[in-house]
C-alpha cells in the first residue's frame, strides 16, 4: 500500500515553524501525516508516551527531540532539558523511568567545550533522577546544516499495577491541578532571544517530575485520571488536547492560575498570553473530585509543588471546549494555539 501525502500540497507545500509549535498545525501534521502512515492502537492513544504490554508488565515508551535555542539559557541547557523532558513524558504515563537513550546530531564546527558542557549537564541530570543513559548515537552534519546541536532522547519506564493514566480518562467532576506557576520556561528563553532581550532574574523551571508524580500516585492511586506536562503550546494547548480526546468540557478559573509577577510583566510587554507559553517542570493532574484536596496537599508538601493550585474542573457541557472564567467574571473560549505565538506589539 503506498502512502499518499494527505495534506493538500497547495495548502502547505513546505513545513512551517508553526508545524512544531505544539498547536493546531502540529496536531494537523500528526493526524494527517504520521498517524495514518504508522497507524496502530498504541499510537492512537496519543499520550505523552505509548504503553506496551510485554510479558505481563506494562512499559511506557517515549521519545522527544530537543532543538532549543539558545542552548544555554537561564536555569538550564539543552542537555538537562533533554533528560528531564523524556523522564517527564514517562512520568506522565505513570511510569518510573528505567533507562534513556541519547542521540546527538552535531553541526560541524560546534565547539567541543560546549558539547562537553551539555554532556556533563545530562550526566548530572540523569544521575539525580537515577536513570542510566544506556545507549546512544552520534551524527555530524555539514556546517550550516544543523543549528549547533540537536538531541533526541528516548526512554522506557515501568508502570506500576493499578495505575491507568490516559487522556481519555478525564471525566466530568474531575478537578484540574497544576504543581506551580505557569509560563516560566518560555519567558526565561525569551529573555535571552535576540531581538527580545530583557533583564530578568527568571530561571527556567526545567525539572524531573517523576518523584512528584510518584507521590501524587501514592496518594491518589486510581483516582488520578490524567497527567500531562504542558510544554510547547502551553497550558491552553494541553487542556484542549485532553478535552478533545476525552470528549469533555473544561472550565478554567483565571484568578486561580498561579503566575509570577515577572512572568506577567514579560507577557504584558511582549503581548503574549501566558496560557500559550511553554512550561517545563510543570504537570497538570486531572483528579477525581473526592481526592483532589488530599492530592493538592501532597503536592504542596513536595519541593516541586509548593505553589500547586486547583485551576479548573471538567464538566459535561461544551465537550471538547475549554472555557475560561476571566478575572472580572466574564467568559471566553480558550482555543488551541494557532500558529506560532509571535510577540505582538500592536
Amino acid at each position: 500500500m503506498t502512502f499518499q501525502c494527505p495534506i493538500p500540497i497547495s495548502e502547505y507545500p513546505t513545513v512551517l515553524l508553526a508545524h512544531g509549535g505544539g498547536g493546531k498545525l502540529t496536531q494537523m501534521l500528526i493526524e494527517r501525516v504520521f498517524l495514518p502512515a504508522f497507524a496502530n492502537p498504541a499510537l492512537e492513544i496519543l499520550h505523552d508516551g505509548a504503553v506496551l504490554e510485554i510479558g505481563g508488565a506494562r512499559l511506557a515508551f517515549t521519545t522527544d527531540s530537543f532543538v532549543v535555542s539558545p542552548i544555554f539559557f537561564p536555569g538550564g541547557d539543552i542537555g538537562c532539558l533533554a533528560v528531564h523532558g523524556t523522564v517527564n513524558d514517562l512520568a506522565m504515563c505513570g511510569a518510573k523511568p528505567l533507562a534513556l537513550s541519547a542521540g546527538f546530531i552535531l553541526e560541524e564546527g560546534f565547539p567541543m567545550e560546549d558539547l562537553c558542557r551539555v554532556v556533563e549537564s545530562m550526566r548530572e541530570a540523569a544521575a539525580r533522577v537515577g536513570v542510566p543513559i544506556v545507549t546512544g548515537d552520534t551524527k555530524v552534519v555539514d556546517k550550516g546544516k544543523g543549528d549547533g546541536i540537536f538531541i533526541n532522547t528516548t526512554g522506557i519506564g515501568l508502570i506500576p499495577p493499578g495505575i491507568h493514566i490516559s487522556p481519555g480518562r478525564a471525566r466530568p467532576g474531575d478537578l484540574i491541578l497544576i504543581n506551580g506557576a505557569i509560563a516560566v520556561h518560555g519567558i526565561a528563553i525569551m529573555s535571552v532571544r535576540e531581538g527580545l532581550e530583557f533583564e530578568s532574574t527568571l530561571l527556567s523551571d526545567t525539572a524531573p517530575l517523576h518523584d512528584l508524580v510518584g507521590r501524587i500516585l501514592e496518594v491518589g492511586g486510581d483516582k488520578i485520571h490524567v497527567l500531562r506536562d504542558p510544554t510547547r503550546g502551553g497550558v491552553a494547548s494541553a487542556l484542549n488536547e485532553i478535552a478533545t480526546r476525552a470528549r469533555v468540557g473544561i472550565v478554567l478559573d483565571e484568578a486561580s492560575i498561579p503566575i509570577w509577577e515577572e512572568v506577567k510583566g514579560a507577557c504584558e510587554i511582549l503581548g503574549l498570553d501566558p496560557l500559550y507559553v511553554a512550561n517545563e517542570g510543570k504537570c497538570l493532574a486531572f483528579v477525581a473530585r473526592d481526592k483532589a484536596e488530599e492530592v493538592l496537599e501532597a503536592m504542596r508538601a513536595h519541593p516541586l509543588g509548593r505553589e500547586a493550585a486547583i485551576i479548573g474542573e471538567v464538566v459535561e457541557e461544551h465537550p471538547g471546549q475549554v472555557i475560561l472564567r476571566s478575572r472580572i467574571g466574564g467568559k471566553r473560549i480558550v482555543e488551541m494555539l494557532s500558529g506560532e505565538q509571535l510577540p505582538r506589539i500592536c
Binding site: T14, A255, K264, E268, G271, S326, I328, S338, R344, I345
Partner: protein, 362 residues
Amino acid sequence: MKFVDEYRREEDARKLINAIHRLVTRPWTIMEVCGGQTHTILKSGIDHLLPPEVTLLHGPGCPVCVTPVELIDKAIALACTPGVILSSFGDMLRVPGSNGDLLSAKAQGGDVRIVYSPLDALRLAQKNPDKEVVFFAVGFETTAPANAMAVWQAKQMGVKNFSILCAQVRVPPAIELILSDPYNKVQGFIAAGHVCTVMGYWEYERIAEKYRVPIVPTGFEPLDLLQGIYMVLRALEEGRWGVENQYVRSVRREGNVHAQKLMNAVFQICDRPWRGIGTVRGGGLCLRPEFSEFDAEKRFGLQDIKALESAFCIAGDILQGKKKPYECPAFGRECTPEHPLGAPMVSSEGACAAYYQYGRGQ
C-alpha cells in the same frame, strides 16, 4: 503589577457593570476604535456582560489590518533580496500578502527578524554594516514617535544602511470616514487611549461637534473599558456630545507635545490606501523630503506591485463595523488563523482573530 492589577478587580467590574445596566434605557450602538480594546473586551468577556440594548461595533484601529497589501508584498520582496535584513514587529509576520506572508518568506530563506522596538532595528543596522536593514514601520500615532525617533537618530548618527518601509496611519480621518457614511449606525466612540496619549484629544473635539457624537478616550484594562463604555452611554442617555476623557492617568488634552514635535519634524500627513477600505484622505504619515533617503521604497526603487486580494475577504466591512466577523461566510471555514484570507484574522488585534480565538463564532 501596579497600574495593571487594580484595573482588573472583579468587585469593581461588577459595580461598573451594574451601573451600566441601571443607566441604559434604550438601544445604543457604540464603537471601540482600537483593536487592543476589542481584544480586552473579548478576552475578559465584557461583551457578554453588557445589557442587550448595547451593541458594540469594532473599529478599524488595527494598524496591522489596514496596512495595504502592496506594502506587505514589498516587504516580502525586500526580505527575499540578498543583503537585506527586513525587521518588523511580530504582528506583521503572518499577514497575508498577494502570495504568502513574511513568515513563509522566512521559511524560504528570506532574512526576516522580529524586533521589539524601532531602535532595535537601528541597532541591527549598526551591527551589520555590510547589510541593508529595512524596518517595516507600521502603526498608528502611538507608534509614530518611536518610528520617527529611529529615523531621526539614523540621520544624526549618519547610519547609511538603515531605511523604513513606511506604513504609518492616522485615526481621525478613519473616524470621520465612518461617521460620514450615510449608513453609519455608530452613535458614540470609545477612542484609542494610547493614540490620544500621544496626540491628545483636541483633534476629536471638532469631529464630536460636527457629527454630534460623544467620544471618550479610554484605556485598555477591563475597568477602563467598562468606565469608558459607561461614560459614552451616560452622554448618550443625557443627549450630550463632545469629548470626555476616561484615561485621565495617561491622556491630556494637548497630548505629548515632545512626541508630536519629533513626529512632525520627520513625518508629514499624506493620503494612504487602507486595506479593505480604500484611499483615506489624510489617512497616513510619510517621510518629509529631508528624510527621503530613509524611505525604503525610494532606496530600493520598489515598483508598484499589482496586489491580489482574496475575493472572499470582507475585511473592509469588518473594519468599519458594518459586519461582525461571524457574518462573513468564510469565517472559520476557508478563513482561519492557520490560513487567513485577510489581515483581521491574523493580527492579534484583528476583530476576526479575536472572535475566532475567544469563541464568538456562535
